[in-house]
């Protein structure tokens, strides 16, 4: 599903060069639930960004469904992100000026989906995460766990093949975290491929495979 070959990511400024990822080779298979762990600054989020086509590797190849996408143009990358990948972030990244329903609809806007079916898909996604009764609420009216559930609904509304979750439970207490984890597991059971960055060993144990990074290098 996602194959990374010899991935290297270097951040350069005028005075300093930082090697964020060094010779990463990974193969995420369809239906897998993979967690990535490592200390802060080891390159976990960078790796997720490279997988999610949000960041370009300095070296190496990213393949999605067997196709090398590294040289794709902005428009093609945007289309792939929209149709194949769902993102979940630690800080939820909800737009406070939009209702829950409107937030969940956003990925479909970039598919030029018409209004009525767009709303129906968003309602379905919210129902799946147990928030059908909060559709007209604004993010500020929700708890942290509810916000993350909205973010999950937004990630799955377009029915993507892969879900990339960057510390989805990082801002939540353990009960809320478990709740989110249950939802992710359910999604995986339903066929979604999930790659999750986490600091939490307990959460990582619930996934199929663990990848450990240290100073940008894959150690496990």
């Amino acid at each position: 599903m996602i194959t990374l070959q010899n991935i290297e990511k270097v951040y350069r400024t005028s005075t300093i060069e930082t090697l964020a990822l060094n010779n990463i080779n990974l193969d995420i298979r369809k239906g897998e639930f993979v967690s990535i762990m490592g200390p802060s600054g080891c390159g976990k989020s960078t790796l997720l960004n490279v997988m999610g086509l949000l960041d370009e590797p300095s070296k190496g190849t990213v393949q999605l469904d067997g196709q090398a996408v590294t040289q794709y143009r902005d428009k093609e990358l945007a289309r792939l992100r929209n149709q194949k990948i769902g993102f979940i972030f630690q800080s939820f990244h909800l737009i406070n000026d939009l209702t829950v329903l409107d937030n969940v609809e956003i990925p479909l806007l970039y598919r030029s989906q018409n209004g009525r079916p767009r709303q129906d898909y968003a309602k379905d996604a919210l129902t799946k995460v147990g928030l059908s009764n909060r559709m007209k609420h604004f993010p500020k009216q929700l708890s942290g766990g509810q916000k993350q559930r909205v973010a999950i609904a937004r990630a799955i509304v377009g029915n993507p093949d892969i879900i990339l979750a960057d510390e989805p439970t990082g801002n939540l207490d353990s009960a809320m975290g478990n709740e989110i984890m249950n939802i992710l597991q359910q999604l995986n059971d339903d066929g979604a491929t999930i790659v999750m960055v986490t600091h939490d060993e307990q959460m990582a144990k619930r996934t199929h495979r663990l990848i450990r990074l240290f100073d940008g290098t894959q150690v496990l």
């Binding site: 960078t46 949000l54 960041d55 428009k75 990244h93 737009i95 000026d97 609809e105 806007l109 970039y110």
Partner: protein, 384 residues
């Protein structure tokens, strides 16, 4: 996407209230200015109705002289006609073309009343100013028989009094008889509205029409002007003589119209520049504050150009809200017939003002939105 942008702006309406008021105020100023310009351009495009090149207005003031004033005026006219440099001479009232003077009278025909500009002129007036008379003819002294004074009216007066009726020979206000119709006569210059007007025959015996228009032959210069002034002064002791070139008087009349318009343009220009700078600043700030959202949208499938379009779209939506409020006000002008202007003038002014507002907001949004398009999603998401 449009409904999404409307939702986004509507949900932030309180935060955007001042911007909306700013755009609304700019629209109202532009609407006023555009109306002024549309009116003047509309007037300018209508023919003047006469020629003024090589025509001089000689103003004769008798001051304290009350003896045989009419005779003396006629003697001057006859003397001026005798100069080989002079092509034509005409006596008229003091409201000669491009002068600051104005006279008007109400005239009536079959209970239809029209307030018309009034000019007292002699039989050579049309010849002196090359005024075409498409219907009937310019009056002659011999037309002044019986109790009716011959008049020539313009097309506007004809429409107001007679509509589709043939005006020739008709009696107006029980004292005038129409002998001819001219098209337009805009005595205050090209920017004057084409108003109803009539010309009334000046009799040689009337002492009060003391302006003499002379059409000189091309190439006649100030030497001749000095010569006639000297000669008239010797003929009319104690009178004052003043010569105005109609070309110069026309410039003065134009300045009376153009200077206020130019001042309004400058003031509005400054206002719009301020509004534009304000908008530009607000948009820049907004983009800086919304980097996380930009990153998110890129992650969810927006292209760089899509982000740019979104920010331009947002400012258009904002402008649309302001313009809708502005239109509520502007629409009252044609509906209530304010200033007695045609609806078309207001509609044109509204369209111009709307287009300028959209152009300004687009210009203001272009640079910030392009900046937004270059934001790297991974960096923006990480900052949040």
């Amino acid at each position: 996407m449009i409904s999404h942008l409307f939702k986004l702006i509507w949900n932030k309406k309180k935060a955007h209230a001042l911007l909306i008021v700013e755009i609304w105020a700019s629209f109202m100023v532009l609407f006023g200015l555009a109306t002024l310009i549309v009116v003047n351009v509309g007037n300018y495009r209508k023919p003047l109705g006469f020629t003024y090149e090589n025509v001089w207005a000689v103003g004769l003031r008798s001051n304290r002289d009350t003896i045989e004033v009419a005779n003396k005026l006629q003697r001057v006219v006859d003397r001026l006609k005798a100069y080989p440099e002079v092509a034509s001479v005409s006596r008229m009232s003091s409201n000669f073309p491009f002068s600051a003077n104005q006279m008007n009278n109400g005239i009536e025909y079959k209970k239809r009343n029209v307030l018309a500009e009034t000019y007292g002129t002699d039989e050579d007036f049309a010849k002196t100013l090359d005024i075409p008379v498409p219907i009937g003819s310019w009056y002659r002294n011999r037309d002044s028989v019986g109790k009716y004074t011959p008049i020539v009216i313009n097309q506007k007066a004809k429409e107001g009094l007679f509509e589709d009726e043939n005006p020739l020979g008709k009696i107006v206000s029980d004292k005038f008889r129409v002998v001819g119709v001219v098209n337009t006569f805009k005595a205050k210059g090209e920017f004057m509205a084409d108003k109803p007007a009539y010309f009334e025959l000046v009799k040689a015996s009337q002492p009060w029409n003391d302006t003499v228009l002379i059409k000189v032959k091309p190439g006649t210069d100030a030497v001749f002007e000095a010569k006639i002034v000297k000669e008239i002064a010797s003929m009319l002791t104690g009178w004052s003589v003043e010569v105005d070139y109609l070309t110069n008087s026309r410039k003065n009349q134009h300045n009376l119209v153009l200077v206020p318009v130019i001042i309004a343009l400058i003031v509005s220009g400054f206002l719009l520049i301020n509004v534009a700078l304000g908008l530009f600043g607000v948009l820049n700030l907004s983009i800086a504050k919304r980097r996380g959202e930009i990153g998110l949208r890129r992650a969810l499938g927006a292209t760089g150009s899509g982000i740019s379009t979104q920010f331009i779209g947002e400012i258009w939506v904002l402008a649309t809200f302001a313009l809708l409020i502005g239109l509520l006000f502007a629409a009252q002008f044609p509906l209530l017939n304010v200033f007695d202007l045609q609806s078309g003038i207001y509609v044109t002014a509204i369209i111009i003002a709307v287009l300028i507002i959209y152009a300004i907001v687009t210009l203001c949004a272009l640079f910030p939105s392009r900046q937004a398009a270059t934001i790297q999603p991974a960096t923006a998401l990480h900052e949040e």
